[in-house]
Symmetry: C2
Subunit: 489 residues, 2 copies
């Protein structure tokens, strides 16, 4: 059996630590006891001896022993002095643990949807990487001048909890921007600030649907959204996508009807097609007939090519059953963590209360800065600039692919956005190209990966937003070399 004394005499106290010495000593002895190093019944040295060994005042040691007694870790036994109390060592507990951890970690069924293998970690700076905005072009100087200026204006009132719906002036800036640019019917009262669009999807799913309820989901569609909905306990019902987006009429008609429909109508992800007004109306009618709700993810709404601009579904009827979601992650930068939803009047209080319950609201100061950034015109200017840049890069990539890889690839003419879809001519397997490409550092997501159902799709997604002309050219050359290799095999 271990003798406590040696351990204690070796346990040093930290002079830098400004907790009282007796508390430090109490902590060290406690550690030895609870970790089972010093076991039950061990006799502790007398206060006088320990004081000498550690060159502490006896009062300090007495203080520590008193505190440990108060904790029930040690007891005074007449004749035997101070000994470690019975049933305090976690030795047994620890053995039990050791047998189980970490093997025993059993997640919930819904939890397993959330942690479903996310695939290989991707390199954000790799050529063709998806969804990485051109961060080098964000006007950092302007942003930080605002940060500096506004931080002086913060008062202690701004330190307390803010509005769960978001900082009011920011909601006004967003409402105005959306009404003007996206034909979204909204006022600051129906705009809610969120840390991300998937958080909006999750909250809508939890507020409006129960475990096992169905949700109409685009096939192919945004895999991350599918996992969010499944982690919320919903059954995603794949609805085929054609050149007009989700084929509402081909939805699952089993009873009970789906409670939700998740759609990306402005630029369907991943195919990039735009849903025409007639079909948007069919979806609205579905929502009215079934008491269902539409979650409209307008994820990169700023980067349309204006000739194709179409109004939001939400805006097609003033009282539509639509939760509209958008984000600043693509149009400004991801680490800001500011997105937004426009929710029907009848749902505002529900969103507000659930947000209050879960995480209160988003950090106030960032919202103050973003609000000023929008109101002073910097956001509009940045978006216009990037819309043009992305348009140019898109055209550049398309002509590069046609020119250099036309014999292998068909470019699908989508609508703006930050990536293009290319279909491989028969004889070449997208899977093989993706695998081979990764050996050259290319990130080439396969179109087939975005389907929930079996598919013959044999295509790839090529991102271009954050690449320079030079990088696009180099990457395309690499891609061509891979295609050549794969077509031969």
């Amino acid at each position: 059996m271990t003798n406590g004394v040696e351990f204690l005499s070796r346990s040093l106290l930290d002079p830098g630590d400004n907790t009282p010495l007796y508390v430090q000593l109490q902590k060290r002895i406690r550690e030895l006891i609870v970790t089972g190093v010093v076991s039950e019944g061990t006799r502790l040295p007398s206060t006088r001896k320990l004081a000498t060994d550690l060159s502490l005042s006896r009062t300090t040691v007495l203080g520590a022993y008193d505190a440990l007694r108060a904790e029930g870790l040690i007891v005074q036994r007449p004749g035997a002095g101070t000994i470690v109390a019975a049933h305090t060592s976690t030795g047994t507990t620890r053995k039990k643990h050791s047998k189980k951890e970490p093997a025993a970690v059993r997640l919930s069924n819904r939890g397993n949807f959330a942690v479903e293998s996310p695939g290989p970690a991707t390199n954000r700076s790799a050529p063709f990487q998806l969804g990485v905005p051109s961060l080098g072009e964000v006007p950092l100087k302007i942003w930080h001048s605002l940060v500096t200026r506004l931080s002086k204006e913060v008062t202690s009132r701004d330190l307390d909890h803010g509005d769960p719906l978001g900082y009011r002036p920011l909601r006004e800036s967003i409402a105005q921007h959306l009404a003007t640019n996206r034909a979204v019917y909204c006022t600051a009262d129906t705009v809610v600030v969120f840390p991300g669009t998937m958080y909006v999807v999750d909250m809508a799913a939890r507020l409006l649907a129960d475990e096992g309820d169905g949700v109409l989901f685009e096939d192919p569609g945004y895999t991350r959204a599918r996992r969010v909905l499944q982690a919320a306990g919903l059954r995603t019902q794949p609805v085929p996508v054609d050149e007009q987006g989700m084929q509402v009429t081909r939805r699952d008609r089993s009873k009970p009807p789906a409670r939700l429909a998740y759609v990306t109508p402005s630029r369907q992800f991943p195919l990039g097609v735009t849903m025409p007004v007639a079909r948007r109306k069919a979806l609205l009618d579905w929502s009215v007939e079934t008491d269902g709700w539409i979650v409209e993810d307008d994820y990169d709404n700023e980067f349309y090519t204006s000739s194709h601009e179409t109004p939001s579904i939400q805006g097609l009827a003033p009282d539509s059953r639509v939760v509209y979601a958008g984000t600043f992650s693509q149009s400004l930068f991801p680490s800001l963590r500011v997105s937004y939803a426009v929710v029907p009047k009848g749902l505002v209080s529900a969103f507000s209360e659930m947000r209050t319950l879960l995480d209160g609201h988003s950090n106030t100061f960032n919202q103050m800065v973003l609000s000023a950034f929008i109101d002073e015109g910097h956001y509009g200017a940045h978006v216009r600039k990037m819309r043009q840049r992305y348009g140019e890069r898109r055209e550049e990539l398309i002509s590069l692919v046609n020119e250099k890889a036309g014999e292998f690839l068909d470019v699908q003419r989508g609508n703006g956005g930050m990536h293009v879809v290319v279909h491989l001519r028969k004889g070449i397997s997208a899977e093989e190209v993706a695998r081979e490409g990764s050996t050259l550092g290319l990130v080439l997501p396969q179109l087939a990966r975005y389907y929930q159902t079996e598919t013959a799709a044999n295509g790839l997604l090529l991102g271009f937003a954050s690449a320079s002309s030079y990088e696009l050219r180099k990457a395309t050359d690499k891609l061509v070399s891979v295609l050549k290799r794969c077509s031969r095999s």
Copy 2:
């Protein structure tokens, strides 16, 4: 039937708007059509006529008509010219809506737990208000000098997505702080940054338990946490609390066993008692025997009175099945929205992936600022100062109550914290006192409100953290007058 022409000729284009004129015209006409103002079959004016009416170039009008044709909103009919296409008006849709909204808003069953009436809105600056730290004492100047300094150091790499577990240097600062001050076994690898402790509770519930699973819950306990767990579909099983906290041995033993236990051991909320080591070990043993998990909410861990300081449950066994949660909302300020969890190694990746799925991570810049604030010693200094202040205010309030209201109230000596519990002598009803107090602007939460089961508890919670001596004295006087009135009735 409406004639489109008048409307169109009246619809003005906004010269300030820098979208191309033809797009602006397209939008205006679209609005008239989709809102049903101009109905199906209406003949639109010729491009030439409209150009003249609105003094626009004919090219502009042609561009708008082409775009509208592409959207399927108008059609060219030989002989009849350009007319509004069939089935485009949302007139019918809107009628259906008007009948339903907003009455038809039906939340999910779980959603109803989230929005369960939160009780009367409370005035954060009212006397005795709970859980409002003393924001006037936060060192704003230091904070903002850090904001200004660090904002200059931000590069475009900091604008991209950050680590879902949190900004690494901040996690290191937190790990060191917890190991030293809370005897928590952790490294930066097991610390996860969150926007709030309830978000930690929600994620743990979703990752570790399924719909209908049980969770041991303190009775009385933290009502907000109970709603979070219920909104996540869990059944909260009330476990009585005595002067040693949750009576683990008196838990519900029905099968299957509860998957989780939610506890506030350092200072039980609302009673303020501290759970001794022996009972903490019993809880650890429960978790091992049942494969259950403990969620340890150390919500205001900084404000203990050191003689009562007890190690965290998490720290009692190096591989304990504990998710430990703490926050900077109480110790620094709420609008920062930074809290943290220490999770078992085996769960780190699950938390990381679910966070990535739902909202990515917390804003990066705030984490940079907080990390510097801690590392440069400002956090420790602030906490030590506030610990003393709150201790003084607590003693002051207790002696005020004993001196002025001793005949009506018994003060329950708790352990530090930011509120005290007072029990009413028989003959006076807490409910009546709370009601009467509110007429004088006093916020007096009733102890009974924190019970899930029937209770005879007849007490009130009095917050003191943000009140000056003067305010405490005035508030106590008001309380006494209320008590006198209620004791007579």
